[in-house]
Amino acid sequence: MNLPYAPSRIEAVEREVPVNKALLLGLYRQMLAIRRIEEASAKAYAQGKIGGFLHLGIGQEAVCVGAVGALRPEDYVVATYREHGHAYAKGMTARSILAELYGKKTGCSKGLGGSMHLFDAEKNFLGGYGIVGGHVPLAAGVAYKCKYLGEKRVTLCFFGDGAANIGGFFEGVALAALWKLPIVFICENNLYSMGTPLYRSLSVEDVSMKALAFGIARDRFDGEDVLRVRARLAEAVERARETCEPTLIEVRTYRFRGHSMSDPGQYRTKDEVEEWKKRDPLSIARRRLVEEADADEGELRQIELGVKAELEDAIRFADESPPADEYLPFTIKE
């Protein structure tokens, strides 16, 4: 006997997102600041001021800014090692982020962590994670806590297309679905897992399809327009907050730089990268501001100058701060 297939859960539909000028100005400013933070870190890395492995989110800014923009301050964000933008969008300052990357005492994690270790308990930003997929069950646990305490807070968990292959991802989503947790899983599908393109890493390239197996809501869309990201996330966030229904979202995006600073990215053609740069989320937001919201050059210039000053201050702060100086206590001293 053939058994019937389970019906698919809620699937979002595309609709026009009209420009709200004040909102878009704010989001544009955030994206711009994030891009400048990434550029400043790349430079500092080249100068040896930042060590370790540095993963930049240049090109993907609309995803973190749009998604986090759909949250309230009391909501939680759990991110990956490509998390500088997410931290900033959640309200952390350029100062505390850059100082952390520099390994300075004034960094958000006292300089003990560095690039993959941004935490801010006050801003409810629960860190970067360097072990791919390991953070997904942990995010489910945070969401459980919210439900348990009746808090009406949402947890937003970011991950990459590569992470959609590892056990931790499946186990985390399975628990969230089973326990009906107030959580949104968002896959930043930038088409590559390090040097591996999607078609060599996923048998089905639509990551949101995995939601069907867990019986949870799903959504899937292009991530270059920050307003669209924000609007679509808002639906999922509301569903999580009001009815404790998890959603699995796949957003298509692209990183303009290599996987990390040590990756020259030779597995992609120049043409491919150039093609994607035409869909730069910053240019799109700027164009929409001018064309659809009558923003004038002076207004935008003002924002750009503000960001420039903010970054100059943050870089100076990171440069001048004292280095990290704390260890966990050794149990045995030499």
Binding site: G130, I131, I166, M194, P323, A324, Y327, I332
Partner: protein, 324 residues
Amino acid sequence: MPTMNIIQAVNDALRLEMRRDPRVVILGEDVAKFGGVFRATSGLVDEFGPDRVMDTPLAEAGIIGAAIGMALYGLRPVPEIQFADFIFPAFDQIVNELAKFRYRSGGQYPAPVVIRTPYGGGIRGGHYHSQSPEALFIHTPGLKVVVPSDPYEAKGLLLSCIRQNDPVLFLEPKRIYRASKGEVPEGDYTIPLGKARVVREGTQVTVIAWGSMLHTALEGVDKAAELGISCEVIDLRTLMPFDVETMVESVKKTGRAVIVQEAPRTCGFAAELSATISERAMAWLEAPVERLCGFDTPFPYTLEHEYMPNGDRVLSTIQKTLDW
């Protein structure tokens, strides 16, 4: 003889063995087209094709689990885990399946999987790219654990690993991946597993190390030599099963032992070596066995230079045993 670094020597060993033995296959993240994050498998897919050099999805438990299945019926998989820090999603497969397969099947199913993975600090990699987890695996009966310290060692040891029937964790010291260079024979040669190597003969203190710490130990020993102190230096090479005899015989001669290990101190492998020396050579010891280790802290990002054992600390530990 060509001069190679460790990466080239590993690549050379893999190429040689894949030509010799069609059962050898490689799998891992970005090992084929990309040639591995450190380029250790560079060019192999071009020569041997995608059925023998496989890019996998990001799924460590899948990689190791599948390698076990391949090995049960005669393939000789050499999976790569990008960094030792990322091996833990596969820890269950390694500890509960791979290590125990031959034993619990009454010898019917040997599982000759050789897991290659770069380990260790000294590259400013921070928490997730610096750990030295050897003790966790040495403490897993059924596994062999091998650590080369230079290109010659890397090629000879890796070939031995692939040709024997037990599962092996082959830890490659990434700090000296490119920095350690030396002559490596072009053709086939092997270095026996389970045999340590006396790198330098001496009379007053035995200094024991492995992997990149061998070079740190030698730095300290050179400084000691300038002060007229004569040290014998042992490269352990195989950590499990380790060469008790070479180590104990040396300590019986010198009467003192210093073990240099990068991993945190407590429950590190140095503790096991220290216990073994104490049990076997108590009557010959002139001073307690000393351990120079990393600290009991998550691997530090900013304070790495303080954490890593260095030549000066090796020297002062040597002096400590002499002053006791």
